[in-house]
């Protein structure tokens, strides 16, 4: 319990140092685009593969479970849309990104800590937390909702490609299902979740990296902790946000 409060205190202190006005906005924006490239654009190939295959799998599973003649075929499209938008494209993608982004951030900052690069910045008078962490948090939080949208679109396309290849249902039925009882709020709900989840991933991964100690083993440990804690928090906040927003 004491450890938990200590971690929470250190995390808040670190965030207080992170959310300061950058020393120079030109440096901040330069880092912001670099981090957007590393965290967001570099995640797109993985996201395409996973979203397309999961979209296709959802279509197969839903179609094979809708045997009753009383349930219209276009429900395959409805189910694919709802599964993707409500849970997969935000929570599941965030859990995958927790592994990819979280380990990358924690190991990058952790390596800088143990090789004294962060100390070097501090001695120069640079707010290392602000310089290293703020661009990561901002780029991930701002652009991750776009990743969610992309994942949703690619998931739906994956389903459509599978349907056109296998003919489980017609593409027309699928398209009808995608439009049936559509609630645009679900898209915003999912984007909000994704933004918050990516804030949690980047801030906790940065925290564990920033306070890494004990050489390369310590860096590995900090990466693992970052993934475990951010995944757990994603699931907890998924429950909270779902209760609050739906």
């Amino acid at each position: 319990m004491k450890q938990m409060f200590q971690t929470a205190g250190e995390y808040c202190q670190l965030m207080a140092r992170v959310f300061r006005r950058p020393e120079k906005w030109t440096i901040f924006w330069r880092q912001f685009w670099i981090e957007s490239q590393k965290l967001i654009i570099a995640s797109i190939p993985l996201l395409i593969i996973i979203s397309a295959s999961v979209g296709a799998v959802i279509v197969i599973q839903t179609a094979s479970n809708l045997e009753s003649p009383f349930i219209p075929k276009y429900y395959v499209g409805v189910m694919a849309r709802e599964s993707l938008v409500l849970e997969f494209c935000s929570t599941m993608i965030a859990l995958i990104l927790a592994g990819k982004m979280g380990s990358s951030i924690a190991s990058e900052i952790g390596s800088m800590r143990i090789t004294e690069q962060i100390d070097a910045m501090e001695i120069m008078g640079v707010n290392s937390a602000n310089f290293l962490i703020l661009p990561k948090i901002c780029s991930a939080t701002i652009f991750s909702p776009l990743l969610m949208l992309m994942s949703f679109f690619i998931g739906l396309c994956g389903g459509a490609v599978l349907i056109s290849l296998t003919g489980i249902i017609t593409l027309g039925q699928y398209a009808d299902g995608l439009q049936f009882a559509f609630r645009s709020w679900y898209i915003f709900y999912s984007m909000i979740k994704m933004g918050l989840f990516c804030f949690l991933i980047t801030s906790f991964a940065s925290y564990y990296g920033y306070y890494a100690k004990g050489g390369s083993l310590g860096v590995g440990k900090s990466s693992t902790q970052a993934i475990v804690i951010s995944s757990t928090l994603i699931l907890i906040f998924d429950l909270i946000l779902t209760k609050l927003l739906l």
Binding site: E23, K24, I27, S111, M112, T115, E116, Q117, D119, A120, E122, I123, M124, G125, V126, N127
Partner: protein, 252 residues
């Protein structure tokens, strides 16, 4: 000048430094020597503000660094340069970007002005045509020299070096030592060097402080160290056969 007054530092109740009083003068290479774990690095980290002393004060000329708030310390740190044991060059940046890093933050110079200063600093440490290389592409000695170039980029008044020769061969060590000494004299910098390399002590030790088990037990220079009767210092300096033989020959 840097003055340390009655400095105490402990970790988890275990004292690491006790009642350290020492002065470091400008234009002199002041060496802090001692065995591994004696508290040298802790003293250096207290001097640069990475640790806060439990008791005591650190004065930079007429400024009490210990009692400064973070904002003042930040301004003050712009006058400090530090060379780390493993150089601590930024992996993500080229040599040029590494040396330019503090200028990007704290000057309004144009890119050309910054580049001119970078090239001056790199030339000063005898490095050429390395601007676009990354630290991983440099040898240990070259990394140290880039570290020195970065440390002097903002024309610091105070230079701190933590084990500058660690991992270097004797010839390169001497090059680095002489470079630090030249820069110290040329720019009248107050330089504090942590080392346990006796070659450095004999080469550039204008002022030497010996720390033993957290206490400053001896102060002098590289001439006085040969004739000291301080037993822990003798045990440290003349730890190997070669050094003992040299002392024996010099006394004969």
């Amino acid at each position: 000048m840097i003055e340390v007054k009655g400095l105490n530092k402990s970790f988890n109740g275990k004292p690491v430094l006790e009642n350290i009083n020492i002065k470091f003068k400008p234009g002199e290479c002041s060496l802090i020597i001692g065995a591994s774990g004696s508290g040298k690095t802790v003293l250096l980290k207290n001097l640069v503000g990475l640790y806060s002393p439990d008791e005591g004060e650190i004065w930079y000329d007429s400024n009490n660094f210990t009692s400064m708030d973070l904002a003042h310390k930040k301004v003050f740190r712009k006058e400090m340069g530090m060379l780390f044991q493993e150089s601590a060059l930024f992996d993500f940046a080229t040599v040029q970007e590494n040396v330019m890093f503090p200028m990007d933050f704290f000057t309004d110079w144009s890119f050309e002005q910054k580049l001119e200063r970078v090239n001056f600093c790199l030339n000063r440490v005898n490095l050429e045509n390395v601007n676009n290389l990354y630290p991983a592409q440099l040898s240990g000695g070259m990394q140290k020299r880039v570290g020195i170039a970065r440390a002097i980029a903002m024309k610091p008044k105070y230079l701190f070096c933590d084990e500058p020769n660690s991992g270097l061969d004797p010839t390169t060590s001497i090059v680095i030592d002489r470079l630090i000494q030249e820069i110290t004299t040329e720019y009248q910098i107050t330089t504090v060097i942590n080392t346990h390399d006796m070659n450095s002590v004999m080469e550039i030790g204008d002022h030497i402080g010996f720390i033993h088990k957290g206490h400053l037990v001896w102060e002098g220079n590289n001439k006085q160290i040969m004739d000291t009767d301080c037993q822990p210092l003798n045990d440290f300096v003349f730890a190997n056969n070669l050094a003992r033989q040299l002392k024996k020959n010099s006394s004969v």
